[in-house]
């Protein structure tokens, strides 16, 4: 009875096109934002913020990026790890070369750089589709990681090949990177930043760009015939997607881990983000968040769960079992609900609309 749209009449197309056309959704969203900004930092411990919320938000951003490419534009990519590495190393070079640049500008610039790289590796998508394209993106993955690993110009000639984020303030007095950075600063910055980026992504996918991406995804030939140029649609999807992934990579290196090497962005990372997108829901911004939460939480829960059952269990075995469960879950999700958690959420809402009357 609580979740009804009856009686809410839209008097303009603008209201009908809003992200949350139903009042209850808007209220729910406001509560969520309040909890995220006020509740979580007050209640969660430093440890929880650092190990769960920070990676969750960064992964959500990467998942949004991949979702734009794979979920909205239908171009399968296995190069996410490579593009994240791009963002991380671009940010490092920028931050060390221009110490006076503000961090947010560094992140955005490294995102732009990654967007260029992504568009370049997206060029083959004009001739090839599906699995073939997946193989082409593997080239990006392996080439980029090799490049960052091989040329120590990228790491400013550090012997270990590890880059460490220089300490920087996000607003005067609050360090976002380096040893003085507090978990709460990191978290609050990420909440604001990621929410803003997600809003922008949502705006893009419901407007002109999103429609041309989805048209290409659903039927590229028909899309071309109604005047969408596949070249621009696909390349813009690659560029926007890589921008998001690049920024996520920069955040990963700077805010989450603080120091990182190229090998942290191996192909496993690509799969990890792909799983978030599949489990969360292809073609859904909300799904990117749900998928990221799921994939970040699952290993922690499994780990603790297995340790609770058998405290002597080896970490290797835990990680193998984790692999198995991941794999099984992917298959399960594809069978039960190819549209992922986001679709389950929607079904839940539809049920709620009818509740307590079944029909």
């Amino acid at each position: 009875m609580l979740y009804r749209e009856a009686g809410q009449f839209k008097t303009s197309y603008a209201k009908d096109q809003a992200i949350f056309p139903i009042r209850q959704d808007r209220i729910l969203m406001a509560i969520l934002i309040a909890i995220a900004v006020l509740g979580v930092p007050a209640l969660a411990s430093e440890y929880f913020l650092e190990t769960i919320f920070v990676p969750f938000l960064i992964f959500a951003l990467a998942a949004i990026g991949l979702n734009i490419l794979t979920g909205y534009c239908g171009q399968l990519s296995l190069g996410t790890g490579g593009f994240m590495a791009c963002g991380a190393f671009f940010a490092y070079k920028l931050a060390t070369a221009f110490p006076e640049l503000h961090l947010v500008i560094i992140f955005l610039l490294s995102g732009l750089g990654t967007a260029l790289v992504g568009a370049a590796f997206g060029l083959p998508s004009l001739r090839i589709k599906g699995f073939y394209l997946a193989v082409a993106t593997l080239a990006a993955q392996f080439f980029l990681v090799w490049m960052f690993n091989k040329f120590d110009w990228w790491t400013n000639y550090s012997a270990s090949g590890v880059i460490s984020a220089p300490p920087r303030e996000v607003v005067p007095g609050f360090f976002l990177t380096g040893n003085d950075a507090s978990a709460v600063t990191k978290y609050l910055f990420l909440v604001c930043f990621v929410a803003l980026m997600a809003l922008i992504a949502k705006n893009l996918v419901r407007g002109r760009f999103g429609r041309s991406w989805m048209a290409i995804r659903d039927m590229d030939i028909a899309a071309e015939i109604i005047g969408i140029r596949p070249l621009w649609a696909k390349l813009s999807a690659f560029a926007v997607s890589s921008f998001y992934i690049g920024v996520a990579g920069a955040l990963w290196a700077f805010v989450y881990t603080g120091s990182v090497e190229a090998l942290a962005f191996q192909i496993d990372r690509s799969f990890q983000v792909l799983f978030m997108v599949i489990i969360g829901g292809l073609g859904s911004i909300l799904g990117s968040f749900l998928g990221a939460a799921f994939i970040v939480l699952l290993p922690i829960l499994l780990n603790n769960g297995m340790l609770a059952i058998d405290p002597t269990i080896s970490t290797a075995l835990v990680s193998h079992i984790e692999f198995m469960i991941f794999g099984a879950l992917i298959v399960l999700f594809l069978i039960v609900e190819p549209h992922g958690l986001a679709r389950l959420w929607q079904i839940g809402k539809e049920k709620l609309r009818l509740w307590p009357f079944p029909h």
């Binding site: 193989v135 593997l138 080239a139 469960i325 794999g327 992917i330």
Partner: protein, 339 residues
């Protein structure tokens, strides 16, 4: 054999040595400009042969992909983990004290069971889904088998030795000073690969089930409507791919030890498929040879230019460039789009 096939073969017979010779001259020229490069014809040939034999190993993995793709239109990303799983299982049985032939037989049965499981639990519920969904489900299988194999058998590097001789030998002493160095193990691998290809080709072209497989590859629903038992076909194909994976696993495992990286080496089979075409068994072989040899040559002769280890990505880049010019591969069927 018709005229065009003869022309094709003639083209290959002239083209391949020509390309190899041109590459050799190119490297020779490079070496004469830059003294940090070393070049000598016998060495070049040696690297080429080593690359070709490495290519055979790639082909072995690629064959499994082709089998499944031909029969079900599924791009089986899990082939690599099937290789690892098969090799791990076989080593496990050998470690229990069984003779390798018995271990081989038992492992083949295990792979058949895996095939049945995949058909029941993954393919059957996903029949008639878009290809991309099936592809992603095989990524799930990839992870599952990786985890499962290592949960069962542990993740230490294991030695798999079924008695293939690994003695280096010299051939062609008359042609070159000192002859060419070749590992006998690689030769055995090449023979096994050839035998496997011939067996599969016969299977596909001359048996009833082979014809049914080709019908299924074209259209699931149409094949079902004329009474081809899809489930049986799939189990057969996945079993065959499992056995191919087992053979590949034995070869790779004997060469480099059975370890997790096997599953990732198998990713190299992807560029092989791009070159050879997804549906062609000879394509998988030729593609493997091209990838193996060019990768080896690039690493040895061009690698120093880029700081080495370009093997990591060279094959993928080659495939990518190739795709731009011939998206259907060397032997694949050209797709005419209709609307």
């Amino acid at each position: 054999m018709n005229a065009s096939a003869i022309r094709n073969i003639g083209g290959w017979a002239i083209g391949v040595p020509l390309v190899i010779a041109l590459l050799g001259f190119a490297f020779q020229g490079l070496a004469s400009f830059n003294s940090s490069f070393f070049f000598a014809w016998p060495y070049f040939i040696e690297v080429l042969i080593a690359g070709l034999l490495q290519g055979v190993m790639y082909s072995l993995v690629a064959l499994g992909f082709v089998l499944i793709f031909k029969a079900s239109g599924i791009f089986n990303f899990a082939q690599g983990s099937m290789v690892l799983f098969a090799a791990l299982t076989m080593v496990g049985f050998i470690e229990m004290g069984l003779h390798w032939t018995i271990a081989f037989a038992i492992t083949a049965v295990v792979m058949a069971l895996v095939a049945v499981g995949i058909e029941r639990l993954v393919l059957r519920p996903l029949v008639n889904q878009p290809h991309i969904i099936l592809f992603m489900s095989t990524i799930g299988i990839f992870y599952f088998l990786d985890g499962f194999g290592q949960t069962l058998w542990g993740s230490d590097i294991k030695v798999l030795d079924i008695g293939i001789p690994k003695t280096p030998m010299f051939v062609g002493k008359g042609m070159f000073e000192g002859g060419l160095l070749i590992n006998s193990f690689d030769l055995v691998a090449a023979f096994v690969g050839a035998a496997l290809v011939i067996a599969l080709a016969v299977f596909f072209h001359y048996t009833r089930i082979g014809r049914a497989l080709r019908a299924v590859a074209d259209d699931h629903q149409a094949a079902m409507s004329i009474g081809i038992p899809l489930k049986t076909i799939w189990v057969v194909v996945w079993t065959a791919a499992g056995v191919v994976a087992l053979v590949a696993g034995i070869m790779w495992g004997s060469k480099a030890g059975v370890q997790f990286s096997l599953a990732l080496i198998a990713l190299k089979a992807l560029p092989v498929l791009i070159l050879g075409g997804f549906t062609s068994i000879p394509g998988a072989i030729v593609g493997g040879l091209i990838i193996g040899s060019s990768e080896q040559l690039a690493e040895v002769f061009l690698g120093p230019l880029f700081g080495g280890a370009i093997q990591d990505w060279f094959a993928y880049m080659l495939a990518l460039v190739f795709l731009l010019f011939r998206p259907q591969g060397l032997f694949g069927e050209k797709i005419i789009e209709r609307i």
